[in-house]
Symmetry: C2
Subunit: 137 residues, 2 copies
DNA sequence: CAAACCTGTAACTATAATAGTTACAACAGG
DNA sequence: CCTGTTGTAACTATTATAGTTACAGGTTTG
């Protein structure tokens, strides 16, 4: 299983999108909702900021989305947090003297790429707005 | 990224399917092709054996597949090695007092399930025989 | 301007998953 | 009986992730 960074990023972005009171929207408040440490939140927000998804200012509470929720796909969020581009690792340096070892890496790459594309399609099809709609239900 | 156990399992099964000389097919030989330790190979083979994919006997070199490569889907192999049933972790215990924290887990489960199914379909569509064909090319 | 509060980061620690290694019991076959 | 093999347990090493402490620097407000 991949880490929970993706889940935390979506949680944070959902809070920013739905919280109107800026003074309430501190890293400590967000951490309280996510159930983690404020530094973990600020660290993650730093990543999302670098990716151009939101903005903030040192010393001033609150964050602003730079992309409309309906235009923000989950795939874009995934890329923002620099999630791994492959789901499965391929073992290093199989024996090139063996007919299987020689070609297994390229073969597995093909298999895993097809799996990866299927996953990308699903993430591309859903936006932050879809998540917000689910949360409101 | 998930671990390389899946890749190693496919590599091992490919070797068993294509190596006719049983006396050659020792855990040490397989380890040489995979580039790992013989114990890692025997450990993985133990898992595949428990799942009913192959058979072997203590003291006697060689392994036998119990399923025809054309009938062995990559998904079955994935299940055999007890791969994780979800790709992304969901953070623990978000704050139930917060409207987002209260529903985020269920919402993310829905998102991740759709991604998971897409992945399963891809793995179901490919068999060990497909891998063997790729290796032969 | 001083105190209180915030963001941004670096650095360290804790935990867990994975892989690699050593060791040895049990079995087979010459 | 000796050599080689499988099957496992137990330990170590490595790495990724998350959590924590500490502090620099900006903002706001009395």
């Amino acid at each position: 299983m991949v880490n929970s960074r993706f889940s935390v990023a979506i949680h944070i972005l959902s809070l920013i999108a739905t919280t109107s009171d800026k003074n309430q929207l501190t890293s400590e408040y967000i951490a309280g909702s996510v159930n983690t440490n404020p530094v973990v939140v600020r660290r993650m927000i730093g990543v999302l900021k670098k990716a151009g998804l939101l903005t903030s200012q040192t010393g001033i509470p609150g964050y602003d989305l730079l992309v409309e929720p309906k235009d923000l796909t989950l795939l874009a969020i995934y890329h923002a947090i620099d999630g791994p581009e492959q789901l499965f690792a391929i073992h290093d340096e199989p024996n090139p003297a063996c007919s299987v070892g020689q070609k297994i890496q390229r073969t597995l790459e093909g298999v895993y790429t097809s799996v990866w594309h299927a996953m990308e399609e699903q993430l591309q099809a859903q936006t932050l707005q879809d998540v917000l709609d689910q949360l409101r239900k």
